[in-house]
Structure formats: C-alpha cells, structure tokens
Amino acid sequence: MRRRKRMLKELDQDIRDHIELETQENIERGLSPEEARCAALRKFGNVTRVTEETRAVWGSVWIEQLRQDLSYGIRALWKNPGFAIVIVLTLALGIGANTAIFSVVRAVVLAPLPYPQPDRLVVVWENRPNVKTLGTSYPDFLDWQRNARSFGEMAALTSRNYDLTSPGVPQHLDGMEISSGFFATLGIKLAMGHDFTPLEDLPHGTPSVIISDRLWRDRFASSPQALGKPILLDGAEYTILGVLPPGFRFLADADVYTPLAQGEPLFYDDRTIHAFIGIARLKPGVSIGQAEGEMSAVQEYLDRLYPVADGNLGTNIVPLKQVIVGDVGGTLLLLLGAVGIVLLITCANVANLLLARSAARTREFAIRSALGASRERIVRQLLTESMLLAMTGGILGLIVAKLGVSLMFAEFAQNLPRAESIGVSLPVLFFAFGISLAVGLAFGLVPALKSSRADVRGSLKSGDRGSTSAHPRSQRALVIIQMALTVVLLVGASLLLRTIDDLHKVNPGFNTQHVITFKVGLSPSLTRTASGTRIAYQQLLDRIRQVPGVQAADFTNIVPLSEQDNGGPFWVGPQQSTSMQDAPHALYFETGPEYLQTMEIPLLRGRFFTPADTPDAEPVIVINSVLAHIYFRDQDPVGQTITVAHWHTARVIGVVGNVKHWGMDDPGTYNPSQIYISFYQLSDQWIPAFARALSVAVRTPLDVATIMPAVKNVVYGTGQDQPVYNVRTMQQVVSESMSSQRLPMILLGVFAALALLLASVGIYGVVSYSVTRQVQEIGVRMALGAEKRQIFQMVIGQGLRVAVVGLTIGATAALILARLLSSFLHLLYGVGPSDPVTFASVSLLLTVVALLACYIPARRASRVDPMIALRCE
C-alpha cells in the first residue's frame, strides 16, 4: 500500500518531464514552441487516462469498482427515496427482531455459565419413584461428600430471606445459606476477604457472612474497612468475612451468604427434609455417566443404612446449565425459528420490491450492457445495491433490537433465567452483521440474476420503460411463500392465544380477583419465642383486618401458583406405617385460620379452622378433595385421623376444593393431595422456620395503590423495623404463572402481525404491478364491452388465487409444525394442535387482508379509461 503511494506520487511529475523532453526535441527539430508542445501532447495521448490507467495498475480494480458501484448505488437509491425507505425499514424490522431474539437466546441458552470450566459443574438431585428432581437432605449430602470420588468439590445451598436492620435503614434481603466450599466449587474468588472455613460452617461457629458487591457499595460505601464489621440480620449480629466480585449471581439474586450449619437445625439436621440443592464439580476426565454410577451406589448404601428416611431414594445428576436454563431453552428456540420465518418473509418482500424495480430498470441495464458492461459487472452492481440496503437495514435493525430487548426485558426479566446478561454484545453485533450480509445476498441475488439476463436488443428497441420484461412468475411465487409463512406464524400465535384464553377460564380452586399478597418482616424483638411469634402474627392480622376496605386477611406459607413447594409425607391413620419415601406425599399449607375463607376456597364438608384451634387443643387439619377422594374413597374423611410427618396425628375437620397450585394447566401429577394446618398449632420448634416464609393475603375490592399505604401504616405502627415487600396482586401471580405461554404468545403475536403486514404489502405490490402491466389488455377488454365490475372481479381474483395457494401450503405446514411442537414443548392447553377454530379464523383473517390489499389496485383497474390505455401504445 505504501509502495503504491510512493510510486504514484511522482507520476504527474514524470509525465510532465516526459512531455517537456518531447517538446524540447521537437523545438530542436525546428518547430515553434507552441507547435512543439502540441505535437508532444498529441504524441503522448490523453494524460488523464494514462494517469488513471497507471493508478489502476496499483489499486485493486475490485476495490475501485466497489467504490464506483457504491456511489452509483447510493445515487440510484437517493433518486427513489420512498422505495429505499420502505426496504430499509422492512429490513430493519426483520433484522432487528432476529437480533433481539438472538441476543436473548445467546445470553440465556448459548453463552457458557460465568464460572471457570462451567461444563464440569453439575447439580446432584435426589429422586424417588414418582418425583424426578428432589432437593437433597443435608445429612445425605454430607454422606455423599464423604464417599463420592467423582467430584472435586461439592457444596449445598438453600435460599433464605433476611431482614437487615443495621447498618442503615431496615431492608429485606434475599440471601443463601451455603456450605463451606460453595465458592470454591463454582471456582469464584472473593473480591475481598476470605471464604467460610469448615470452622465457621458449624452449628455454633462464629456468625459470619459474605456479602454481595451491591450491598457493600450501598451500606459500606465500598470501603475496605467493611471486613470484620458487624451487620444485623434477623436481629442477630454477623461479622463480614468477605465481599463478592461485582455481578456474581447463582440461581437467584442474593445479597448475603451465611454458613449453612448456622441455619435452622430442624432443616439441616433431618435426613427427611429435602430442602437443599447439592452442586458439585466433576473431576477432570469423569463423565456424568460415571458419576451417576458411583452416586447411585453411594445412595443405595444410604438407603440400606437409613431405611426409614432414605428407603427408595435415588440420585440424579444434571448439568448445572441445564438446571439454570430449564424449559425456557425450547421456547426460545421456537421463537428463534419463528423470528427466522419473519426474516424469510422480509427477504421475500424485499426481493419482490427489487424485482419490480429491476424490471423498471431493464432499459438502464440494456444500455450499460450495450456499452460493454459484462454480466458479472451488472450482477455485482445490483448486489452492491442490495448490500447497501441490507447494511443500512442492519444498522437500523440494531436500534430496533436494542429497543426490542429492553421492552422484552421489562416484560419478562423475571421469567427468564440469566436475564441479567441479555444485551447487545459483540457476538450479537456479529450476528446482526452476518444476517444482514446473508439477507442482502438472499434478496439481491434473484433479481440481480434475472435482470442481468435481460435481452438487450429487445429492451432497447421496444423503447418503453421495460414493463414488458417483468418477472410476474417469480413475484407471484415470492408472495405465495410469504403468505404460507405468515399462516404458520398466525396459527402458532393464535394457538397460544387460545391456550392463554383457556387458562384464564380455568377455575384454579379459589377466587383470584381482589386479592393482594405481600410479605412482612416482623421485628426480631417480637419473634424471640414461639409464643411471642404467634401473638405478634395474631396482632398483625388484627390490625390489617381493621384497615378500611379489607374484607378478609390471613397468611400462608406458600402462595398458590407462585411455584413455592412444601411437600411432605403423611399416613392415613394414627401411626407412621411405612418409610418416609414410600409414604404418600401431600402439599402442606401452614396458614392462618381465616386463610381458606380469604381465598374463597370452597368448603365441601365439615368446618374451617376457628380461633379455638389453639396449640393446646387437639391438632386438626383440613384436606382437599383430591386427598379425600384417593384415600377415603367411600368414607367420610371428617373425623378420621391422618399422621403428618414431623408433626402429630391430627383429626380431619374439613374437606375443601382442590387448588391448582402448580399452574392453571396443572395436570395434577405432582403432589395433588393438599393438607392445611393452622400455623398457630405448629410445634414451637417449627414456628421460627415457617414464620420466615409467611405471606399475607388480603381480600379487598380496592386496588394496590389505594390499600397498601394504609396496610403499611399499620404494619409500621407495630414496629419501625418491619419491611413490607413482594407486594403482588393475585392476578399478577396468575399471569406470571402463565409466563411460559405468555412470552411466546406475545412475541409470536408480534411476529405474526409483522408477517401479516409484510405479506399484505407483498400481495398489494404484485397485484398492483400486474394491473400496471395489463392496462392495455384491460383497455381492450373495456373497449370490447367488459363492465367495470368484471374487471374489478378479474383483478381481485388474481390476488385471491395467490392468497389461496399460499394459505393452503401454509396451513399444511402449520398443521405439521404445530403437531410437532405441541409434542415437544407442552405449551398448549385446552386446544389441539389442529384446532379447527384457529385454522378457520386464520384463513378468514388472511383472506380478508388479501382482499383489502387487492382492493386498491382492483379499483384502479376498473377505472381505466380505454381510450387513454389504448393510446399509450
């Protein structure tokens, strides 16, 4: 490159010298100076051309021509800005939507986990015959840790909430209890301080805590002095041992990490409480299969050693990434496919517009070709123009993507794992660039090849603007493809719409209207003892019930449809008749006595709890209809006894309706039996553990903004250090429980709408273009007596034919795809994949849109003045 510059720099001087020498010679031969110079110049030839040709020797011709093509392309597009804008906007939408979805898929599914050697990290679940993934009990975990050789490090954890009361204002914090070695297993180094040692991870070890970077910034102004400082969590003093690096996150947001063995002994000291997640790092060279083999041997040994607690337990090793990404992966890939279809439609649309335009430019190409442009050169010119459009579309598409991602983030961040890392990153930029390139080629090539084949003599001779050498067949084919793809998207979106619609019609077993749930951190000073805690909750609820507008209120440890689990074994009758694992399991609701009435769960038999069901009275429970049906078939369960693990043998006092706890589409396969226990009757030892989990449910006709300030007032009235948080209406909980369908439904809906718009533009373009081409024919027909109505129908008929063919192909494809997807993803509920209503309404919609798109050109055709049309010839 530098050589080129040097060589060319002196070229002008060389040429001047040359001409001067020649002039000199001519003068010596006796010519006058003027004549001598003219002769020299004549002999030399065109100086400019010589300079250019010499330049061409050094410059790559390719780049030079690209520059020409580009500037020509820009000028050509500039001349027709409407056309360019439509194409660029179309592309921006197509590329933007794809880039947005890709950036989500990349962050959630494709990107490796942010830990060293992430593919060696696994979660070790337990399982029992009917439940595939079960948390582990801590004693089991410790036995694994002692016996398993497949893993380098292992750790156990469970989530826990804390109320921070000092330093600073009281605040509710999410946290985790972790066993020592948790950060080592993940391969994470603390930003400051040190990890728990096994010494802290002991029941009476020094209370210590590792805090997040965020908390460190907020509460300690990023001061290194924070190490060794105390913070007050749930009324107890913890010493800060370390600070995490910024952005560290595992499974959920958490600000404080405390040693697991300093937590609740009722949980970690019991082999039957499966409240922990076991994670492990596979040793180099050990496969998951090998580890599973070893672990099942270890667990078999434990099953034999502890037949009551562990009998029939197995283990199940799953890659950590799979656990984190979960089911969302499939949905996101579905969306990636859908948005790919949008891109195809975009390409088809743009190709169509370019075809129409290149038809109009036939004469231009004929002239260029006559002047010596090769076919490659013309193809290259057209491709450069498409690339120009594609790249401009791509850049705008990035903006669209950025907007789209932030919209999606606002709507779905809570329902997407790893949402925090979604963004327009370098790989996403590459992706956008790549698809712009591919798209430019895809939609540019067909018209380019077609136009460059134009017959030079024909186009030049006919003297018109090239409308005779159009490409109606390619155009029609492209529109049919668009229609078919649009049908596929529309069917997908409306199947999901119908699913959500059906889900909303499902009765979840309680009244979801007018209920607000929230959590309250009761002051540690009020909850030192079990009896104190009972009184504190009673008083809290009494105050809340007195707030004007509150019709009913009480608390529960698990809120329906919010994915909270609290399963445990039970035995019908007065004693524990089998091992824990072989016993039937039920979902336990530890609630206030008025919870069932608050939620309006219908009473089928017996009675609800009353204030008379005190700790000293007989232990009583309420069961749901499913449990009653399965275990008491013909008898009346009221008055019978059930033995509840970890508690008492209790008398059944009532039967209530089933609550769809696991989602509106709950098929009732996991823990369908439900048992309600009055929180006040719980044993003293369990009170602190369950109190932490309680959510208050309030039934009120007022909205959140109106009622919550009053509720907060009465809560704060009982103590300044009591945060109110997680405020959600039951309607919000319901709609979040449908997020696995709502996310694809909304996005598919958007894509389908986009597709419909593009397809209607496409069909409009084709029909309107063919009307232009047929003006003379229409003129002749009219001159021969055809009526306006007939012409109108003829044009509409042309459009409809295209639409019907597209519809048929699309419906067939949609039928196959929907069947395939419903068997993969289990997204549909209440509608079959070949739901006739869906298919009929999609067909109707598309036909109507096609008719509307044809209407304008058809009207134009019917108004053709035969005289003018014929005179044009």
């Binding site: 020498l21 030399f44 030839g45 100086v47 010589v50 040709e53 010499t54």
Partner: protein, 120 residues
C-alpha cells in the same frame, strides 16, 4: 459484441508493449522518454503507440518485479527516473520472447499457407 473479446485484445496489446519495454531495457537502464523513443526508433515508427500508454506498462512491470526504478540524471542534466531490468525481468524476457516467436510463427504459417505446404 462481447466484452470478453475486448479484454483479450487489450491483453494482447499490453503483453506486446511489456515485451518491447523489457527488450529495450536489456541494453541498460533508461528513463521513460528514452524508452519510448527507443521503441519508436527500433520499430522504424511502425508501432505508433501513444507514448502515454508506456506508463501503465512501466508500473505494471515494476509491480511484477521485472524492472526496478532508481533516481538519476538525464542527458540534459535533469533529475529523472531510470528503469532497470531485474534478474527476474531478464528471465521473463526470455519466456516472453519465445512465446512471441511461437505465436508469430504460428500466425505466419496461417497467413502464408503455401509456404507451410511446401515445407511439409
């Protein structure tokens, strides 16, 4: 009319000019004007090439490494660029010359078929 033919024709001309430049420089380094004069003189003015077209040819040869360029003083005491045949250029000249001779021979045989018949 095809652009392909056009391209081949110019290539033929270019190749010929290249050959002439190389041949001229065998005698020793020369500046641009001198090369042009030499070609005109040696071909008895039959090859009426525009002098300008010499420059793309010279640059093409430099780029291929067949000739090199150096500063010098022309006969009328002016700074000028002198072009010199490189070793690679010398080898190329041999190749080009034999190629040209083969081509010329072939064309001659086509143009004078009786001579060909007489020989065979």
């Amino acid at each position: 009319m095809s652009t392909k033919e056009q391209k081949e024709r110019t290539e033929l001309l270019q190749g010929t000019l290249d050959l002439l430049v190389l041949k001229t420089l065998v005698l020793g380094p020369a500046h641009g004007h001198a090369v042009a004069k030499a070609i005109e003189f040696n071909s008895d003015d039959v090859l009426q090439v525009e002098q300008g077209s010499l420059y793309p040819a010279l640059h093409r040869l430099i780029k291929r490494g067949w000739i090199s360029v150096e500063g010098g003083i022309s006969e009328n005491n002016r700074r000028a660029k002198f072009y010199r045949l490189t070793a690679k250029g010398r080898r190329q000249l041999a190749v080009e010359t034999s190629k040209w001779e083969r081509l010329a021979g072939a064309i001659a045989r086509i143009l004078r078929p009786e001579a060909q018949e007489g020989k065979s």
